[in-house]
């Protein structure tokens, strides 16, 4: 089993609402989102569409982000592409401790 690394990203209040923020950790491109209800999610920053775009630039609605280039609707919670399209992006575990956001990879 590989051990997970937990990385501090930023403070919760630093994250803008409903806009994706790109970060690179250890070679992984990750998009971090704070949605309207305050929850924070981290997913792989690339739409699974063969020519898809960076998800951090996509429109955020509720717990979904729309791929900015091909419109695929992707769940921030489990990374699943919504029907009728198919696919899944990797999700990363997010912890919030004392107002700091940590991502485990």
């Amino acid at each position: 089993m590989t051990t997970k690394t937990k990385v501090a990203i930023t403070r919760v209040q630093e994250l803008p609402v409903r806009a994706g923020i790109p970060v690179t950790i250890d070679g992984h491109s990750i998009a971090v989102f704070k949605v309207t209800d305050g929850s924070v999610y981290a997913i792989e920053n690339k739409s699974p569409h063969p020519k898809g775009g960076v998800l951090s630039e996509g429109l955020v609605s509720g717990n979904y982000v729309f791929c900015p280039v091909y419109d695929w609707k992707i769940s921030l919670i489990d990374g699943k592409v919504q029907a009728p399209d198919e696919g899944q992006v990797q999700t990363y575990h997010v912890d919030i401790e004392q107002n700091t956001i940590y991502i485990s990879i």
């Binding site: 937990k6 970060v23 960076v54 630039e57 429109l59 609605s61 900015p68 609707k73 009728p84």
Partner: protein
């Protein structure tokens, strides 16, 4: 009690229609399981042509979404193929090893493209045209390859060819016979069709028999029997289809061309049925949905043990779904010794009509260029009406004023929707009984219009006729997106009436189904609010990436920067700045755009604000649903023919209207004389200088729907011109649907109607006034981003966390 278990193999159009009919007949008495090889829920296969031709997306053609299956308790396995059927054990088995028992089994496996058996057909780059996957293959190929060859000049082949042509490929259609669509068209109509398609850019290789596919790993071309060859890097096989009957055959069910069924869609094995393109009934295998839907009704009743008339076969009619081609054909198309036919051939207008008559009965028809009479002729054909009392003219044209497609005099039992077998009576009853007001609602209740869509105009006529004044023709379009049932007009009316002022409020008050909407409604609502309130505070996060970033995103997720060059006029200082920036930031592409200005392409997101700052030029809005450019010619200041100062006017217009939000992008052009070097004829507003004044053209389009502008007015002064341009723009803003270019908008509202509004002094003044108020609200967005740290943080910086690993 043990529910009866129905298993269906195939998740396509005929199969799912059968299930819909079963659910209608008796809900809840069955336990239904469906296997579909494709990864999608049931979609409208017919509309694949429009997807390929670029008019719709895959999303738009889903007929039964995942919710539908769930709601009806249907167990659905997609991307899973049945590979084995044991009719003794009553068991099916899938390629994933899943085994399911059935009480009743329905084969609805459809058919597959027929692949001609010549050497080389196993190479890469060959596809059929049958499903979403094929469509995607073609769309993908068009990105990397240029030369397409379609084998087969029938319905499917021509629709595929047109699609590939729209995707920018060079298309050759190879056809074995001397005429296209020889089973549906006679020589005259086929020739007219071929000429039209040639005009649209398709090339034809007639009377060619393919004997070999050339190439190593991927195809490079075809060789024909006569020794000639054609190059190709994509080959689409559209020579015909073959029923998917193999699985049934292996299970011991009798098959011939298809799975043999009787008049109740029963095979020769008890409790095993077949429906759709995989079934053969009285020697016929049908390849159109209308007969398959008739079969579905019979089968559903049979399964639900409801009395039903037997299925006795169908007469079918076909049309071609290619833009610019109106074509209909049904029944017999060629004359023989026993027939007489009425023909009208107006070569000038490109109209050809032929009605074939035997023993005073209509037995076939071919219509080209004008197909309004198709329903009536089809009725005469299928009902075997005696036409001996009719004159030849009245056979071709309905009695009375043939002007309108007269739904009023149409008998109640006349078919309106051929695909779904829905009559006028059924539609009118549904409109009354369920208070229907839109074409989509009629489709929801009766299925009419849900397949090929050809009957939609007639359904709209029926609504108009049935509802009288209660019918609002402009309101006939669908809801603005799946989050609501409200149309654009309803939403705008609610915003005004209830004073709703933010996107969130609109969604909340109007009971949106998804709390924060989707990528269709959010940008639209943001636009409508901005249109209603001149001082609206834009909601940036409801804009899609290009407008949100004030820069177009590119395929590699870099951005472009296109600054204003008003009227296409520049100066050494600006050029120098552009050059300096391009060098400093190592800009990969500096290009003159089609809008008479210079674009910098391939810019990293983090560099955007710095570049804007150094350029210190206003945004050219090359990304906006907004005024793009005002293209000008040199005009009277320099050109020997110029009658007016086109550059001066162009720059003035661009400065006045820049940044304004419009339903879709808006382009203008100003030329100094009728030679029209600024291409004013294809602009949203195009102006041409003439001696002593200006001509104003509107609703031209040089993009997807190429359209020449209509002359709106000839005006004498610049002031008058600016007034009319302002009022026109504002009226478009106030009545246009989000993402509707002026070309579509003018056709929807009618130029005369727009002129009446503009000519009404009070209305014109008010429009101009509201426009000017709105124009006052804008700031220069690049400057704003440069100066506002918060905007920079949120949109233009990459988070560089101190990565403290714990």
């Amino acid at each position: 009690m043990h529910k009866k278990k129905i298993v269906m193999i195939g998740n396509g159009m005929a199969g799912i229609r059968t299930i819909e009919e079963i659910l209608k007949n008796s809900i809840d008495t069955y336990d239904i399981t469906i296997f579909g090889k494709e990864p999608h829920p049931n979609y409208n296969r017919i509309q694949l042509s429009t997807v390929l031709q670029g008019d719709t997306t895959v999303d738009d053609i889903i007929l039964n979404n995942w919710d539908w299956y769930e709601k009806n308790n249907i167990q659905l396995f997609t991307g899973e193929m049945i590979t084995n059927v044991d009719t003794d054990k009553k068991l099916v088995e899938s390629n994933k090893g899943r085994q399911v028992f059935y009480d009743q089994l329905i084969f609805a496996t459809g058919s597959s493209p027929f692949i001609i058996p010549v050497p080389g057909v196993d190479k890469k780059g060959i596809t059929g045209f049958r499903d979403i996957q094929d469509c995607e293959t073609m769309i993908k190929s068009a990105e990397d390859y240029k030369k397409a060859v379609v084998i087969g000049g029938g319905l499917l082949g021509l629709e595929a060819a047109k699609g590939l042509c729209n995707l920018g490929m060079d298309v050759n259609v190879v056809h074995l016979m001397p005429h296209l669509m020889e089973r549906q068209l006679d020589a005259t109509a086929a020739t007219m069709l071929k000429e039209e398609l040639e005009r649209q850019g398709i090339n034809f290789l007639m009377e060619k028999q393919t004997v070999e596919v050339l190439g190593d790993d991927r195809v490079t071309g075809l060789r024909f029997k006569d020794g000639s060859e054609v190059e190709a890097d994509l080959i689409v096989m559209a020579v015909g289809i073959k029923s998917n009957a193999q699985l049934a055959k292996e299970a011991g069910v009798s098959t011939n061309r298809g799975i043999i069924v009787n008049d109740y869609m029963e095979t020769d094995i008890p409790d095993v049925y077949a429906i759709g393109e995989c079934a053969e009934h009285r020697g016929m295998v049908y390849g159109l949905v209308a007969p398959l839907y008739e079969q579905a009704q019979v089968l559903a009743k049979r399964i639900c043990q409801v009395d039903t008339e037997p299925y006795q076969g169908s007469v079918t009619g076909t049309q071609l779904k290619v833009a610019g081609v109106d074509l209909y054909s049904a029944g017999e198309i060629e004359d023989d010794e026993t027939t007489k036919s009425i023909k009208v051939h107006n070569d000038y207008e490109g109209v050809y009509k032929k009605v074939v008559i035997r023993d005073n009965l209509v037995v076939g028809t071919v219509l080209y260029g004008e197909t309004a009479e198709s329903t009536r002729l089809f009725r005469m054909l299928s009902k075997q009406e005696d036409v001996s009392e009719m004159t030849s003219l009245s056979i071709l044209q309905a009695a009375g004023e043939a002007e309108e497609s007269d739904v009023a005099i149409m008998p109640n039992d006349e078919l309106v929707c051929g695909c779904n077998g829905v009559t006028k009576g059924t539609i009118v009853d549904a409109i009354h009984a369920q208070d229907l007001t839109t074409v989509d609602q009629v489709g929801g209740c009766t299925n009419a219009g849900r397949s090929c869509g050809r009957c939609k105009p007639m359904i709209a006529d029926l609504l108009a006729h049935t509802l009288g004044d209660g019918f609002d023709a402009a309101n006939q379009k669908e809801a603005i997106c799946g989050c609501t049932t409200l149309s654009r007009d309803e939403v705008v009316a609610e915003i005004r009436e209830k004073g709703l002022s933010t996107v969130k409020e609109v969604m909340h008050v109007l009971e949106w189904q998804n709390e924060e909407g989707c990528n269709k409604c959010r940008p639209a609502l943001n636009y409508y609010l901005g249109m209603v309130y001149p001082d609206y505070k834009d909601e940036r996060d409801s804009r899609l990436v290009n407008e949100k970033m004030h820069a177009n995103i590119q395929k590699d997720c870099t951005y472009s920067v296109v600054p204003r060059m008003y009227g296409g006029v520049t100066n050494p200082e600006d050029l120098k700045k552009l050059a300096d920036v391009a060098i400093k930031y190592d800009v990969p592409l500096v290009k003159l755009t089609g809008g008479q200005r210079i674009g910098l392409f391939g810019i990293k997101k983090e560099d955007l604000t710095a570049i804007w700052e150094e350029l210190d030029m206003p945004s050219g809005y090359a990304y906006g649903k907004s005024l793009r450019t005002v293209k000008t010619c040199v005009g009277a200041k320099f050109c020997r023919y110029g009658t007016q100062d086109s550059m001066g006017l162009g720059m003035e217009l661009e400065k006045k209207f820049e940044r304004l939000d419009t339903p879709h992008k808006f382009k203008m052009g100003v030329s100094g004389c009728p030679r029209n070097c600024a291409e004013s004829g294809i602009k949203d507003i195009g102006i041409i200088g003439i001696d002593g004044g200006w001509e104003m053209y509107v609703a031209g389009n040089g993009g997807t729907d190429l359209r020449a502008g209509d002359l709106l007015y000839t005006v004498k002064t610049k002031e008058e011109l600016i007034d009319i341009a302002s009022a026109f723009l504002q009226y478009y803003r106030e009545t246009g649907k989000y993402l509707e270019r002026t070309s579509k908008w003018v056709e929807r509202l009618g130029l005369d109607h727009i002129k009446t509004v503009l000519e009404d002094d009070t209305q014109r003044k008010e429009l101009i006034d509201r426009l000017n108020k709105t124009l006052a609200r804008y700031n220069e967005p690049w400057k704003e981003a440069v100066e506002d740290g918060e905007i920079q943080d949120k949109y233009y910086t990459k988070l560089e966390p101190q990565l403290t690993t714990v």
